[in-house]
């Protein structure tokens, strides 16, 4: 049965249905619907809900529950996620599965509470110290938020790795019909590493500290092998109208929804525009972008940032075609008109550009 839920509430309910029984958080707009939902829902399923004294406390509580083998989650928005970075590095270094939700708001600093995508670098390049990655999933609707949170717990357990859901204020706040239709079917390895009490078995150790020379390098090599495996198997993206596109847009989350509108409007004017929407930001869908770059005139990356994901697009393209960028910052959300205008500037001689320009100039 479908329910009308905010993206934030969809994330919370999906976590419950995925078996998450430990939630720790500290309030911050624009993700408060998530912590609020958890505060009454967790007791219903005999789970633990703690409004921690700080974001730092919350992420370390997640560490504790994850080490004991539980499915644990925390959520916050940009400034709060910055506070959690030390804990995330420790979780990655201890190979502990957990889910962290970041409903991004404008930055830097305290910023504002509007939608933003300026935490991309922080999410996909590490954020904390050390050579590590978290798996980063970027939902584009309330329904996809539910689906991805569900998958996030499975991915976390499968790879013993933290998973981050990277949303934004708009994805968190919008209200859409949501259906919880995922079933517990996926096989997951038993947690034969969890700290469950050593009576009658060998002791187990969860740590991220390797002081003996050589051990840490060996452990890092193991992590890198794991990350390579994730890159090989877990890339997700949505591709629209790729077969004859002259220009391909690359965008995720809220920006991607606006770009879908752009694609639709452009096609009405016979301007061939396609869209690649990365669903996993790490691992990044490099292959599809590289192969598309061979046959299109150019690529346009659209973000609510000063230009972050565009760097990964350029790394994937490796000069095969020009890569352009359009972005808004500080809580600004691009309009489809702005993106269309940018497209006509990139391809002024395209046959459809003239009529498209009229569409934009009428406004």
């Amino acid at each position: 049965m479908k329910q009308l839920l905010t993206g934030n509430e969809a994330a919370a309910e999906a976590a419950i249905q995925a078996g998450c029984r430990y939630y720790y958080g500290y309030p911050i707009t624009p993700q408060n619907e998530l912590i609020n939902y958890m505060s009454w829902r967790m007791p219903e399923v005999d789970g633990a809900f703690i409004q921690a004294e700080s974001e730092i406390a919350a992420i370390n509580m997640v560490y504790g529950s994850a080490a004991a083998g539980g499915r644990a989650m925390t959520s916050s928005s940009s400034p709060g996620i910055s506070l959690k970075q030390e804990g995330i590095s420790y979780l990655a270094g201890s190979e502990l599965p957990c889910v962290i939700v970041n409903i991004q708001r404008g930055g830097p600093g305290l910023g504002d509470i509007s939608a933003s995508q300026a935490d991309y670098f922080q999410a996909v390049k590490g954020g904390g110290h050390g050579d590590y990655h978290v798996i980063v999933l970027a939902p584009g609707s309330a329904q996809e938020m539910a689906d991805l949170v569900y998958d996030a717990f499975n991915l976390a357990d499968k790879y013993r790795n933290p998973v981050m859901i990277l949303g934004d204020a708009q994805i968190g706040q919008l209200v859409e019909p949501v259906e919880f239709h995922k079933k517990h079917t996926e096989y997951l390895p038993p947690k034969n590493w969890a700290l469950t009490g050593a009576e009658g078995r060998e002791k187990r150790v969860i740590k991220s500290f390797y002081p003996v020379k050589g051990q840490l390098e060996e452990f890092n090599a193991h992590l890198q092998r794991k990350y390579k495996l994730i890159e090989e198997h877990e890339v997700r993206y949505e591709a629209i109208n790729m077969h004859d596109a002259d220009i391909v847009l690359v965008a995720y989350g809220t920006s991607a929804r606006i770009c879908k509108e752009v694609v639709k409007k452009c096609l009405q004017y016979k301007f061939k525009v396609g869209l690649i929407r990365p669903i996993t930001l790490w691992p990044f869908p490099k292959e599809i972008i590289r192969s598309v770059a061979e046959r299109v005139h150019s690529i346009l990356t659209v973000e609510m940032s000063a230009g972050q994901m565009v760097e990964d697009v350029r790394l994937a393209v490796e000069g095969r075609c020009p890569v352009h960028f359009y972005g808004r910052t500080g809580g600004g959300v691009p309009t489809s008109q702005e993106v269309i205008k940018k497209i006509t500037e990139i391809e002024p001689d395209n046959r459809a550009a003239h009529s498209l320009r009229q569409l934009v100039e009428v406004k």
Binding site: L4, Q173, L174, T254, R257, I258
Partner: protein, 180 residues
């Protein structure tokens, strides 16, 4: 079919609920729907605005750039959002609190919603008066369906509020019929 609606009023005029009832109706009928409420650093008495899109097709951007319908409850909301209405769109306004000061190439529907609600005995149902009016102009959903939802929503402690909400909805329907 795609219907884009911007709803605005001051906090407390029930725009959130109005939008939610329409969104719920759309979902029940199996349509796509996206409802984007304003949030955050609002002040009491300040403007609250909601973007509601109902469609038979997938909805892309949840933010409306040009709206088919504008439902406004007070003067500041009217001033702020009148420019977003598309050519020949529907402007549904609470004439108890709004003075039209612009030439609109639009279908204007002036509903004295605050006045009607006050006469019914509860100013808080002015939003439901507007809903009745909207349903009569656009005919997207039946009044019966909306009443079923209201009944469901007011179950329990608020059951006694159903009667006045029903009256408010019917008043909204009647006034549009009498205007046309």
């Amino acid at each position: 079919m795609t219907e884009k609606i911007i709803l605005a009023g001051f906090g407390g005029q029930g725009m959130m609920l109005l939008g939610k009832l329409l969104a719920q109706a759309a979902m029940t009928e199996g349509k796509y729907v996206t409802y984007f409420p304003s949030y955050g650093t609002e002040v009491r008495g300040g403007t609250a605005v909601y973007h509601l899109i109902i469609s038979n097709e997938e909805i892309f951007s949840p933010l409306i750039e040009e709206t088919d319908t504008l439902i406004v409850m007070n003067q500041p909301s009217y001033q702020k959002y009148k420019g977003m209405l598309k050519h020949q769109g529907l402007l549904l306004l609470n004439s108890s609190m709004i003075k039209v000061n612009d030439l609109h190439e639009a279908h204007i529907c002036k509903i004295p919603a605050t006045e009607i609600a006050s006469k019914l005995g509860n100013v808080l149902v002015s939003n439901i008066v507007m809903l009745g009016a909207y349903l009569t102009v656009k005919k997207l959903f039946s009044a019966d369906m909306i009443l079923d939802q209201l009944r469901e929503m007011l179950k329990g402690k608020k059951t006694n509020l159903f009667a006045i909400n029903k009256q408010a909805l019917e008043s909204g329907i009647q006034i549009v019929k009498s205007l046309s």
